[in-house]
Amino acid sequence: MIQTNSDAIIRLFHIHKRYGKNFALKDVTLDISKNEFLFVTGRSGAGKTTLLKLLYLGEPVSEGQVLIDGMNLSRIGRSRIPLLRRKFGIIFQDYKLIPTKTVYENVALVLEAAGRKPRLIDKKVRSVLRTVGMEDRMGALPQSLSGGEQQRVAVARAAVGDPKIILADEPTGSLDEEAAGVIMDYLDAFHARGTTVIVATHDKNLLQRSTSRVVHLRDGQLWSNESA
């Protein structure tokens, strides 16, 4: 049974996503509350990444409505997409760090893009890098870092703009258990500060360490919606 919630920061109504004749998502309806920690699970190809992409308009929906913090995504113009994306901090499985920029520059980019002042940028970037334990590697380029370190930088980049929502797509997919635990600790810490966190994962170990709600996708459909 689908639960609804009037305190929702994210609302999906009968979402369909098609690529040609193939459905990636079918009739998905889901509410996600403010300051919720939600896991989206399912096998590879179940539609987890597609679901996240629809939230930040990485892809448009084929049918249905998506509301993010009061913004109806089917009605926002191209010029307002950056404003929507600044509500999110996004963590990708492949990190998506810019290889020619240093750790500091990669993290600072979010605030520069939002037009923040240099002094504030410097203060916040140093602070968030200290939080994820990467302050000593600020001048390093991403390729000189380990996978776990790169993902910590990606977490810092996602958190530096104080987003309302953090989306993490398989954030521990390519990390060992210890490094994965560190990343999840950071996500728990951001959640504790009031951020809504959505983690797409197929890693059952992550679910076992949490009591958060889990939604399960199977072949593009919402299969179950429960507390872990």
């Binding site: 950056p82 404003l83 760090l97 980019l109 980049r157």
Partner: protein, 291 residues
Amino acid sequence: MKRFFKRAINDIKEYRFLTAITVVTIALSILIASAFALFFVNAGDLLTQWQKGIRMMVYLKPNTSEAARLDTKFRLQSIAGVQNAIYISKEEAMDRLKGQMPHHSALLENLKENPLPDAFEVTLQAAARDSAELQFLSERIQNLTAVEEVEYGQQWIQRFTNIINLFSIAGYGIGALFFMATVFIVANTIRLVLYSRRDEIEIMRLVGATDRFIKIPFYLEGMIQGGLGTLIGLAVLYVGYFSLSSHFQPSLASGLLTLRFFPATICLLIVVSGTLVGWLGCWISLKQFLK
């Protein structure tokens, strides 16, 4: 803006090979187009100089009386566009000819009769020196009763004017082609840079960067490349002009022509145009890339 400039300069340093190709291409295009323009400027000066020296020779009919000659002079001087009319008798004309042909003076001495006609040498006001005005003036003078023939090298002036006009049209055409070629080369070079940085641009968009935030450094890069390429092209042209003019100026210094480079305002205009070409190239490729 300082932040955008910093990013643009960093990008130029990082992609210096592509930047160098763009700058050299712009420099070559500006060099060739400006060389044409400089040629026209100096050819125009030459035409003006020659036009200043135009004289019209008005030959009188044989046995023209003194009274008819004086009447013709009066009529010539009253025609609009004529500055002065100086009478040259057939004897004076023969003396001039002998002076110009000293080796053949014996031949001229043996002539039983002076074959040269009496004539007027007519100098013209500046407004009457173009080809059409000269034609009109010569027809009016030709209608005077004592006048046998009017000569002013009309065919030569007409041909030279035609050649200059032809070169001007060709120059505009070549200039337009170079302009388009340069814009497309800049656009393609910027597109290569954009293509090599597509992941970075995608990441910027994902973290909430506006198109403006992404585009401005590219526009600045294009303008810097355009301005720099133009300055280099003009500098090379000046070096070429300087060495040519110092080599040929002594032989041209007979007073007829002085070679000159573009004035400062035109140089500035060319640099601004080159900068705009860089901007336009960026605009085209960004418009396609960031669709």
